[in-house]
Amino acid sequence: MLEHFSFRVIGQYMPLFLRGLWATCWISGISIFFALLIGIIACGLRLSKGRFLKKIAGIYIESIRSTPLLAQLYFFYFGLPTLHVNLNEVQTGILALALNSGAYIAEIVRAGIVSIPSGQVEAATAYGLNYLQRMRYVILPQALGVTIPALLGQFIVLVKDSSLVSLISVLELTRAGQLMASERFMPAEGFFTVAAFYLLIYYILKYLSNWWQNRLIYMEGH
């Protein structure tokens, strides 16, 4: 079987894979950044006292979590232009990924926040911090600490989900594999290489998360 496996062609396609890898990394990176932002805001709204804001955040989180990412991606890609909102493929991909992950992150962060003892909120309140200050200086630093494993899991999901943007013809890692598979008719080599690169990203993220978590544990002096 292995004698049919062409490392030579993989080598030929390496520049394309590296371009794809780079695109996957930066598209995911930007999406993660916005997803975190959206997630924290949505979570903040969901936990706020305003009934209307709470409702809005709830609808957003529910509707994202109850529909497939691919459907959301197609909605933005095919649907937005008909509403005269014109984004290019990459922007559409980032929008869909960030909005999708944001909803999951909102729930992860919420679980982290409700795990913080109520005494922390009380102390911060008693010492005059307002809602945003309590979140910023007391609750979120602690909540994010305990949610690192779950957040990392979500980041990894996002990196893998970013392969879907190949369907709206963005050249990223999976698309590079598709090109090799169709141009040279070598799907095994093409998608094996793709998988290997995703594995690489996974290990880097995992390493970063362990490093971050150890640092936090050290800071809390346990």
């Binding site: 008693a126 010492y127 200050q133 002096g221």
Partner: protein, 243 residues
């Protein structure tokens, strides 16, 4: 300084404060005792609006606590609060715990706030722990940091909610010593506690609460030697035989 006028509070259908009237003067030290569930903690938690009240009026330093127009941030920055479980911020160092509110709420420059925090840590006897995290401290040290955190806002009143109840016996004294010193320096204090030695030593008045009411209010001497209320006598006989 602190005035309660016919204050009533309910938790759902549970009537936890019943027609409380009291007047605490600047510099006064008041100890509140009573059986658990009698409303002691709720009483002081209403003062900085950690708990809202449903009827009556609370006035702190001329500010009506439950009026919408009252600036709660300003009110709270005049009231130091010490919790039974310390509630220090575990992700911040001791020094950062103390300076957080002065910097963020009172907008004190960081340098000034830190210098003041170090002075306060000196005063509560733990200047060498400034850069440690709360998890590295003993309970008594944590509670002293919490007192320093309260004092850092330069408050007019300090409220203590059972400050020694979560401590190991050998650490109670170090916390009480700090509180006694504070009382002698003229701080207005309301202390929910069963430390009767502390009450005798520095309290100007002792309140006894039962079922949401202040049933007895007297000087410590009168309170301990000559309790007028049946419930007070019963309560004192229980805790004093155990001391």
């Amino acid at each position: 300084m602190i005035i309660f006028k016919n204050v009533n509070k309910w938790f759902g259908s549970l009537h936890v404060l019943k027609d409380i009237n009291l007047h605490i003067h600047p510099g006064e030290v008041v100890v509140v005792c009573g059986p658990s569930g009698s409303g002691k903690s709720t009483l002081i938690r209403c003062i900085n609006q950690l708990e809202p009240i449903q009827k009556g009026e609370i006035i702190v330093d001329g500010m009506e606590v439950n009026k919408r127009s009252t600036n709660l941030t300003k009110l709270r920055s005049e009231i130091g609060f010490v919790f039974q479980q310390f509630n220090l911020y575990p992700h911040l160092t001791v020094l950062e715990n103390v300076v957080l509110s002065p910097i963020k709420v009172k907008k004190v420059p960081r340098k000034e706030a830190e210098a003041n925090a170090l002075r306060l840590l000196e005063r509560v006897g733990i200047p060498d722990k400034a850069n440690d995290y709360p998890s590295q401290l003993s309970g008594g040290q944590c509670q002293r940091v919490a007192i320093a955190r309260g004092l850092a806002m330069n408050p007019k009143v300090m409220l203590f909610d059972e400050p020694t109840s979560a401590l190991d016996p050998e650490m109670i004294k170090e916390v009480l010593d700090v509180m006694v010193e504070l009382a002698r320096e003229g701080m207005t204090m309301i202390v929910v506690t069963h430390e009767m030695g502390f009450a005798r030593q520095v309290a100007d008045r002792v309140f006894f609460m039962d079922a949401g009411q202040i049933v007895e209010s007297n000087t410590p001497d009168e309170f301990f030697e000559n309790p007028r209320n049946e419930r007070t006598r019963e309560f004192l006989s229980k805790i004093i035989t155990h001391n």
